[in-house]
């Protein structure tokens, strides 16, 4: 199966390059909107950096995407394969069971699409070109479902390979909608298999594309071109890949690999039907679909793949007995998205490849969004992207945020203006203040000096970050096994804390150290070994760390060889004693000495001391290196620290926004006509809707339309106070009605037929929870209605939440 994996990589090599191009295309076009009023060149530079960063990230992500699910996919693919073979081998006499793979994908909806795409890709390369993806939204009726299924299986211009969304190639014979029935499918498959069976002579390097292409040549004239096109379907992506992927090798390799499975049993390509979201399929459709399939299983080797977001129990809930009797399910558990996320953090956030780094608060924010609202990695990455944009856009100094190689040249080319930007950075200032005074002047005035320092500082910053990340891992390893792990099990949690504040100051860490000091040797040793490894592979080239590593290794060595050492160490303690007593001049002193000596001797267990040393050492290093980035000079260039802007981009708050818009239009309109001193005041110049809104705030739970309109009118044309005048200006009334209906459309009010006396008990449930403050509909009393106005029904309830 390794074959397919490497194949899939091949594909990704292609996909990546493609994604890149798209990315460039879009963002370059957006260059014009990019940045604020700086001079163009910085803008350009920054933008280039941004694009570059994002490219890096997407690359790593794409690689990840497949590695994550590689294992379960392997299993799945093998399952499908074997299922197909079995079905052909023992033409299963009487069993009508459909082999069914039940892929339990997490509840993280947004990621599913990508999961299934890669699955489909693997299947097309490894097993069969005949794949149908059914989504519940297409399958509201059995008819629609079957149509979808058959068209896709027969390659009716349905895109099997997600790479080819552009050209929709009809690969099968053209069919009218009415023709898409199971008999037709059966006939088609019979021909296909029979002709491909004789075609299966391995001399021909028949990748399925050609094979399916061959089939019709033997068949009669008319549909030849129609059926012929499968070559197009399967061959196309290859040729395209050959074109687009930079190394012409990968596609060739792909073809070679993809030959094998087809040739081995090309006459029995299973038909794979993927139901992406089984839960939301209407159960009757699902039942019938399954029954139909099992009815034809004798001639069509159909394999079902259920995408289940929740649990397999859901499948049974929606299946009736007769249907569930003809599926033979196997459950495949996809990797939980948290696991995926860890990888992302590991390889994107904590990598030195990407110059851009994310600071404590934004990271926390992203993490919270992920853990609290949706476990979707897609969204996490999107959030990350937003952060990057924010960084590159908002922070003018970010034009230096790029790989070291480029940076030097950039810094060389810096104009004084740009240099000033850097000099103005607060962290730089603090750094300068720390420096001895004579250097300060040079730093601030001499261009050359400051440039050099900047270079050095930045490189330092980078190496520091590497160290930082590595140490974060160390901390995680160290503390994750502690009872009720105070710093959290996952790397992400440790990272979050370390990014936001110096580790030593957190009381969690204090707890941790206490616990560490009680740790037994058996636990300690393996952990330390791990740590050593981590340090080894990360910081072999970093000198300060390497010496720390050296110390640690020594300690570990002693720890491990403790038992033989023990008695050897006992000796010095013993002959220490007399010396002490000799020096004893005064007996009090002597007494003390003796006491503490006693104490020491009681607890001079070699192990304890060693353990203490270890902990000391570690703590020391942490103290030295695990400072939050915000304390590092020039961190602004590489780190995004402020989360506020990002937050209000990422976390929408619809209702408050709405209310602000209505209560204070100026906030959005920025028009000078309606600035309000206090938000509750009403101006004539306000938009009608907000006037209506403010008025209805004043009155009760049920608003009487007529009063409302009177108030409205009196506000709009305030001058004449005689409300006694019965004739309402038509235009005003129209405006009012419009405003009201707008309000209703937004969902603040809705018409009701409620009578006064009924309100009470109708309200009983509401009032019971009413004191539950926010988010609950404000309940008031109702005013009797006076007179019908307009076609709208006469009363409106506030359903305004929070």
């Amino acid at each position: 199966m390794a074959a397919t994996v490497s194949v899939s990589k091949g594909v990704f090599a292609f996909k990546r390059s493609k994604g890149k191009t798209q990315n460039d295309a879009t963002t370059l076009s957006s260059l014009d909107f990019w940045g604020q009023d700086e001079e163009a060149d910085i803008k350009k530079v920054t933008h280039k950096n941004y694009v570059h960063c994002w490219k890096n990230i997407t690359q790593t992500l794409n690689n990840l995407q497949d590695k994550i699910h590689a294992k379960v996919f392997e299993e799945l693919v093998t399952f499908v394969k074997s299922a197909g073979e079995n079905m052909r081998r023992q033409d299963h006499g009487e069993t009508n069971d459909i082999p069914t793979a039940c892929l339990v994908t997490g509840v993280n909806m947004p990621d599913h699409n990508s999961i299934f795409e890669s699955l489909v890709r693997l299947l097309t390369e490894g097993v069969t070109p005949h794949i149908a993806r059914l989504r519940s939204r297409d399958c509201t009726t059995l008819r629609g479902a079957v149509y979808k299924m058959i068209t896709q299986l027969m390659g009716q211009g349905e895109v099997v390979d997600p790479d080819m969304y552009e050209e929709v190639a009809t690969t099968g014979p053209e069919l009218k909608r009415a023709q898409c029935t199971m008999p037709v499918l059966t006939a088609w498959y019979k021909e296909l298999s029979s002709s491909s069976a004789e075609k299966s002579s391995p001399t021909k390097s028949g990748s399925c594309g050609q094979m399916t292409a061959k089939t019709p040549k033997k068949a009669l004239a008319s549909p030849c071109k129609a059926l012929g096109s499968p070559k197009k379907n399967i061959a196309n992506p290859m040729s395209e890949r050959a074109g687009s992927s930079h190394s012409g090798k990968s596609p060739r390799k792909r073809m070679k690999l993809s030959e094998k499975p087809y040739l081995s049993k090309c006459h029995t390509l299973p038909l794979v039907v993927i139901l992406e979201d089984v839960e939301s399929f209407p159960s009757n459709v699902l039942n019938d679909l399954i029954l139909i399939c099992s009815n034809h299983i004798q001639n069509l080797p159909i394999v079902l793949v259920f995408g289940v977001a929740t649990t397999t129990a859901a499948v049974h809930r929606s299946l009736a007995q007769d249907a569930s009797a003809c599926v033979a399910m196997e459950v495949f558990q996809a990797q939980p998205s948290t696991h995926y996320l860890n990888h992302v953090i590991e390889q994107v956030l904590m990598s030195d490849k990407v110059p851009f780094h994310i600071g404590g608060r934004p990271f926390k924010l992203l993490l919270d969004i992920f853990l609290y609202s949706d476990l979707s990695v897609e969204k996490f990455v999107k959030g990350l992207k937003v952060c990057m944009m924010e960084h590159f856009l908002g922070n003018s100094s970010s034009f230096l945020c790029c790989s070291a190689s480029k940076r030097t040249s950039l810094i060389e080319a810096m104009t004084p203006a740009q240099l000033d930007i850097i000099r103005k950075l607060p962290s730089f200032r603090t750094y300068v203040e720390k420096c001895p005074p004579k250097e300060q002047a040079a730093l601030l005035l001499d261009e050359k000096v400051s440039k050099e320092t900047i270079v050095t500082l930045l490189s330092q910053l980078e190496s520091w970050y590497i160290r930082f990340c590595c140490l974060v891992k160390v901390v995680q390893v160290l503390t994750s096994t502690l009872p009720l792990c105070p710093l959290g099990k996952q790397v992400r949690e440790v990272l979050a804390t370390c990014l936001s504040q110096p580790l030593l100051d957190t009381e969690e860490f204090q707890k941790a150290t206490k616990l560490l000091k009680l740790m037994s040797r058996e636990e300690m040793l393996p952990i330390l070994r791990n740590i050593l490894e981590i340090l080894q592979d990360k910081l072999s080239n970093d000198e300060e760390m390497s010496d720390m590593h050296y110390k640690l290794s020594l300690l570990v060595g002693r720890l491990s060889s403790l038992d033989q050492l023990d008695q050897v160490i006992e000796e010095p303690n013993r002959d220490e004693e007399p010396t002490v007593s000799l020096q004893a001049s005064d007996r009090f002193v002597l007494k003390e000495k003796l006491q503490e000596l006693a104490k020491k001797s009681r607890k001079t267990n070699m192990y304890d001391t060693l353990r203490c040393d270890v902990v000391e050492l570690l703590v020391k290093t942490f103290e030295q290196h695990l400072q939050p980035p915000s304390l590092q000079p020039l961190h602004e260039i590489m780190f995004l620290e402020s989360s506020s802007s990002v937050k209000h981009l990422l976390v929408g708050v619809p209702r408050p926004a709405l209310t602000t818009a209505l209560s204070n239009p100026h906030h959005y309109l920025q028009c000078d006509c309606c600035q309000l001193k206090d938000p509750s005041s009403i101006l004539t110049t306000l938009p009608d809707i907000s006037v209506a809104y403010k008025l209805h705030l004043e009155c009760g739970r049920l608003v009487n339309l007529y009063d409302w309109m009177q108030a409205f009118i009196s506000v709009i044309d305030g001058e004449d106070e005689d409300s006694a005048k019965k004739t309402v200006d038509q235009q005003l009334q129209a405006r009012f009605v419009q405003a009201v209906s707008e309000l209703q459309f937004i969902g603040f009010i809705k018409p009701t037929k409620r009578k006064t006396d009924h309100v009470k008990e109708a309200l009983a449930p509401d009032q019971s929870i009413h004191p539950l403050k926010d988010s609950y509909s404000v309940t008031y009393k109702k005013k009797p209605l006076l007179l019908e106005v307009s076609s709208l029904s006469s009363c409106f309830v506030l359903v305004l939440a929070n």
């Binding site: 069971d97 339990v104 997490g106 509840v107 059995l142 008819r143 079957v146 014979p173 069919l175 009415a178 023709q179 029935t181 037709v184 006939a187 088609w188 021909e191 068949a219 009669l220 008319s222 549909p223 979201d277 839960e279 029954l291 139909i292 009815n295 977001a309 929740t310 649990t311 397999t312 007995q321 569930s324 599926v327 033979a328 399910m329 196997e330 459950v331 558990q333 948290t338 969004i369 609290y372 609202s373 949706d374 476990l375 976390v651 929408g652 708050v653 619809p654 209702r655 209703q744 449930p765 019971s768 929870i769 004191p771 539950l772 403050k773 926010d774 988010s775 509909s777 939440a801 929070n802």
Partner: protein
């Protein structure tokens, strides 16, 4: 005639009576067919098998359709016509059927033609799952019943196969009573007789018989469905034989074998009807179990019971559950710090409807109430962001909630929590929230 009966009943055990009846009714040679037969009996008792076999033996031209598949009349008609006229769909004819036909009038006419062109043969139309016909337009059923009459002088019989007795079909006008043939469920001994045929050659007959006896003793209570039993027999035989493979037991000593197989059977009992595992995966699991990995099967079953939800979603779900299983008036009591102490009378009210709430099922609740409860049970205070709302809709698409009426915010939608109690309890345990304390039925 009797010869035919003999042959078929040799190939298909335990169905002699039905076979005989069918053969007799259809008659041999060129004699006139009855206008319609109605074959019914529980699923998996050989209706289709027997019928088709008989028709084949009496060489009657047969069209066999499945009504589930024929979800439009057009499909049904064309399939039948194709099969009767012997039209073979192929790429060469562009998969076009014998004739495009979507109404009964044409259908009947076409059948007449086919009959004429093929020289008045004996024709049979077998309609499987015919109970589905009732969902289609009302005329089809009666027309099929009297197809012989309508296609006058075509010697055709329509055979309905169904698991539902004919009484349920009488609704539509013009329905002509077909001759009913009932296929009873196999008796236990018959089941034995059939299952024994699965015997792998390397084991002795009565050893296998014993095995089947064991399996039946466990499963026969739960199902008489032959395919199901077959499935179980094949599923467990491997494990049954293990002691013998290992040489721990002789074929003889039943007790030993029983002790070995019994837990497995009990385990498999949980999966009757629901094919959780296909047999080979089951075997793999058995292997794992041997590799002292205790009941991997069950863990496999149960690992799908637990599932990861976002933190707030969990609370939303819990809130939804509470909202749909607690009467609204009790909310104050559960979710407010200082609710007035409830009056004595409530005790008896509760006593009356105590057990019911879980039995009657969830009640719909408005969005506001859900949110209110949500905010009160979540400890830290949450701003009602778009994320929260989107989570609700996610829960709906996951079918953990169902939305009732009101597809948008405007006409305030009502929701319902459709998860089971133990499910919600596991969820609650994850966030260490004691849901029972908040449930009206239990609190």
């Amino acid at each position: 005639m009797e010869v035919a009966v003999q042959d078929i009943s040799d190939s298909i055990p335990c169905r002699r009576e039905q076979i005989q009846l069918l053969v007799h009714l259809l008659g041999q040679g060129t004699c006139a067919l009855p206008s319609s037969l109605f074959v019914y009996g529980p699923s998996g008792c050989g209706k289709t098998l027997v019928t088709l076999a008989v028709l084949k033996r009496l060489d009657i031209i047969t069209a066999h359709i499945n009504c589930i598949e024929a979800y439009t009349p057009r499909i049904m008609f064309e399939t039948v016509l194709n099969q009767l006229s012997g039209t073979v769909l192929s790429s060469s004819n562009g998969y076009t059927s014998y004739a495009s036909c979507d109404n009964l009038g044409d259908f009947v006419k076409h059948i007449k033609d086919i009959g004429r062109n093929r020289g008045m043969p004996r024709i049979a139309v077998v309609v499987e799952h015919s109970e589905r016909l009732r969902d289609q337009d009302a005329n089809i059923m009666p027309v099929l019943c009297r197809l012989q009459e309508l296609t006058c002088s075509t010697n055709i019989v329509v055979i309905f196969l169904s698991s539902i007795p004919v009484d349920k079909f009488r609704a539509s006008t013009g329905f002509m009573e077909p001759i009913v043939v009932h296929f009873p469920q196999y008796y236990k001994n018959e089941v034995m007789e059939i299952l024994v045929k699965l015997k792998p050659e390397k084991y002795s007959e009565e050893f296998f018989k014993n095995y089947i006896n064991l399996v039946l003793s466990v499963f026969y209570v739960a199902t008489k469905d032959l395919p199901e039993l077959k499935h179980q027999v094949q599923l467990n035989f491997q494990t049954y034989c293990e002691p013998i493979e290992k040489g721990e037991a002789a074929e003889g000593d039943m007790r030993q074998l029983w002790r070995n197989i019994e837990p497995h059977l009990r385990k498999a009992m949980n999966s009757v009807y629901l094919r959780e595992v296909s047999s080979d995966q089951y075997e793999r699991m058995q292997k794992l179990t041997e590799k002292n990995e205790p009941d991997h099967l069950l863990s496999n079953m149960s690992h799908n019971a637990k599932m990861e939800l976002p933190f707030y979603s969990k609370f939303l779900l819990i809130a939804a559950y509470l909202a749909s299983y607690n009467p609204a008036r009790t909310d104050r009591r559960f979710f407010m710090k200082y609710h007035g102490k409830q009056r004595k009378t409530q005790a008896m009210i509760k006593a009356k409807e105590r057990s019911s709430n879980q039995l009657v099922g969830p009640k719909p609740f408005p969005l506001d109430r859900l949110l209110a409860i949500f905010y009160s049970i979540v400890d830290d205070r949450v701003t009602p962001t778009a994320n929260i709302f989107s989570q609700i809709s996610t829960l709906v698409t996951l079918r953990l909630l169902t939305q009732i009426g009101g597809d948008d915010q405007l006409d305030s939608p009502k929701y319902k929590c459709v998860v089971s109690l133990d499910f919600i309890r596991t969820i609650a345990r994850m966030v260490s929230f004691d849901i029972i304390r908040y449930l009206y039925d239990y609190a």
